[in-house]
Symmetry: C2
Subunit: 534 residues, 2 copies
Amino acid sequence: MEREGASLSRRELLRMIGITAGSAAMYQAMDGLGLAAESPYKGPIDLQGAPQGASVLILGAGIAGMTAAYELRNAGYRVQVLEYNARSGGRNWSLRGGDTYTELGGFTQTCEFDKDLYINPGPWRIPYHHQGILSYAKRLRVALEPFFQVNYNAYLHSSSAFGGKPQRYREIKADYQGHVAELLAKATRQNALDAAVSKEDREKLLESLRAWGTLDKNYSYVSSDAGSDRRGYKKDPGGGLTARPVPSQPTGLHDILDSKLWQGIPTGDTYDMQTALFQPVGGMGRIGEAFGRELGALIRYNSKVTRIHQDDRGVTVNYVDTSAPDTALTAKADWCLCTIPLPILAQIPMNVGPAMSSAISAVPYAAAIKVGLQFKRRFWEEDEHIYGGITYTDLPITNIGYPNTGFFSSGKGVLLGAYIWGLNAMEFTAMTPPERVQRVLEYGSQIHPQYTREFDNGVAVAWHRSPFTMGCYGMWSTDARAKHYDDLCAIDGRIALAGEHASFIGGWQEGAVTSSLDAIGRLHRRAVAQGAKA
Amino acid sequence: MEREGASLSRRELLRMIGITAGSAAMYQAMDGLGLAAESPYKGPIDLQGAPQGASVLILGAGIAGMTAAYELRNAGYRVQVLEYNARSGGRNWSLRGGDTYTELGGFTQTCEFDKDLYINPGPWRIPYHHQGILSYAKRLRVALEPFFQVNYNAYLHSSSAFGGKPQRYREIKADYQGHVAELLAKATRQNALDAAVSKEDREKLLESLRAWGTLDKNYSYVSSDAGSDRRGYKKDPGGGLTARPVPSQPTGLHDILDSKLWQGIPTGDTYDMQTALFQPVGGMGRIGEAFGRELGALIRYNSKVTRIHQDDRGVTVNYVDTSAPDTALTAKADWCLCTIPLPILAQIPMNVGPAMSSAISAVPYAAAIKVGLQFKRRFWEEDEHIYGGITYTDLPITNIGYPNTGFFSSGKGVLLGAYIWGLNAMEFTAMTPPERVQRVLEYGSQIHPQYTREFDNGVAVAWHRSPFTMGCYGMWSTDARAKHYDDLCAIDGRIALAGEHASFIGGWQEGAVTSSLDAIGRLHRRAVAQGAKA
């Protein structure tokens, strides 16, 4: 879900491509995945002139489906939504104390978190430029609060570097920047870059490197107050007679390069991870819940689609109620917007042409696991002064996400204990949920030894075992995108598809919103044209 | 107030030093100012064994004075606090609708902000490592919420570059980083740095520069999806059939260097500005107000100190009630903690030795102006998608601070329209408050043209005209610190000083807290020793 999922699964994919095609292909592939970008949402959609009595059947009450239902209903269409789950939201979902969740294979977990504590198994943050989802949150009166992506006091951790000791983000960032500045200043002063930097710019560049990299008067990056004012001090300044600060000693460039911890530096620089980021107060699921309340009886829950059939006059969908699966039910409409995730849709008989059919089968879904851990106290705040943000590690748990709410509160707290991708995700998917939690605790205690004493309970969601998506989000390769993307999005007769998988913002709710608006805009124009003909 | 104030006034000071002493002295001076650093606060102070009946008179109900009053009272001392203002908090202060404020010279402003809107004329943010002030906020049950320092979508603005058009922070940061990476990669590949970078590290460095700087396969920083995924796209990716992104074009290094906008890049890297930062819900003044409620009748308000006298037996303070200034009043105690800002204390007769006396006169105070502007709508959010954080400009207004609360709300909003230092502050100090507001509007409209149409009302606080501080915070030069700091902090007989001016964290509330705790710890030990003797 979202960029880090994107980033790592992208890495896997790139590794596969890289094996046969070398780095040029790899870079092109990277360009093609398009997993992180601003929404082109430009304000409420205009669907004036809906034909009298025209109906749309929407499959899936996730963000894409409910965006469509909301707008089509407002435009005067007759709308019905079929949803497999007993709740609205789809991957927009918060697991709270008392909630139960049954995954494929039948294992049921009951979340035992305290009141007001939750984990978002799916999306957990919204960047400032995702104006589509932000605008629906506002219209649905879902309050938003800041989400810290980068926390300078959280850790970058390599199990094979620095004796396994986690390093503070601020130290690695300050030191990498300092060393880069020192090296570039050296090259500049040796006139090694005379062809690339004009004489006029040379002095300005040096001035900027000194300030940006906290270099000393000889353009060296050494222990200093200026450097410690980035990376932190050995002894911090204070007040009164015991106040004098003592600077800290930078980490050497070799150690930073060797540890690969530099990889964690630019996370907050990427477009989808830049400040300002937000989360709904009370959990991401608040958006899906508010959408569900808004749409009310338009959504039929516990409805499992078994067949989608269109002809000249309309679309017929067969489904069953999951509580009475032997009784075949039918819904009909003039048009159908299908937001069912592709791994599931690929298994449902649907009479669309070969182009859309091939496209549906062309997109593998990311495996991802999220594990929520409740602890008896917020030790990351109390002991380590980490308030929100994320620790990155090369252990299979990948992320430790600190809660961006309830700061400084006493009592229990819930961490995102793991956000796992790739091969590790496969391994974790094969475990039972309690085994996953146990393994995550073992890994996490390498970073936070308090885990052992403070653990209370946990839940684990493996997206490949999710019965309503069978995966986390669609992963488009450059090739697949070139061959199949337009076919996936083009209306086939009376059926259009939407969801994050039908977007260039894969794995983000904004992809769901913008693909939905694009699809219903086209469906609407077709309906209007047909209405005029009729 | 805080780091930016510190930073710019430091720059002024450095400029003065630099004129005569060159850059070596300048760097040493920079080291000596110590304006940004972690607190050495290590948990609640232990003041066991207070002598029976011992009393302490505290001058000033700001953060330093109230920290002392709270701890000394809890330890069993008899405590009285004299405060010049009619409220607690000192520079910890929020101006809200209906509040009035009279500055030196008699000009009274009435704040006309809407309900729940405010401006913090003094401190406005608390970094995660300021554990002293954070701990008092928690003990006083003041809720804290995140403060965005850096906003990638806010602006860096130079009135003489890019045709005066503000640049998005993300663009300048991504491009500077990209160009630096490209140049260093070039030097590395030309073997210009062989003496500085080992053969083993060379490839690792290149790999890191490519990822960190979004370089292409030839190690060039060019227009690309990877680069646009930092600086933003020309056309943003979306969903459906109109979704393909178009990359943007980087700004050239020459233009960035020439504009000096690179200066704004590392603001969020400095220790006091790193995530996580917080602000009290409802305004910084909530801390001072909560302290005041907690101390209740221990604080005597409207009390202007006119003389401080000590002898072998105790301390006698003369003061007047500001509503009846002709009646001399007297307070006595065994000990005195004086937190009166130095520009005012320097004018009050006090019989301390020449060492403390000289120290009191050795510290100039920063001039600073803050201007709060209420607008009819939050156009920075609605039109420009700037949610919190700060825009930096070379115009005299220096900062535009966007509110870090009430995100996405409809209706009016209050900006920090200016945070002015140095020579510009002098000029603005000389104006009437309405003139200041008018000038700030004129400058600000160069960045936000909406100012003209949307302006509602404003307030302006010039700290050099503040009757209770006559300045914003103490500015220690390296020389003054070496000569006078210990003398300022050392107890003189029965009198100790405290406040941000008696700390290495000048301009920050943490300096006030830690200097206060350091001072009362020493006063307590002296009181215990004397109590034992008596």
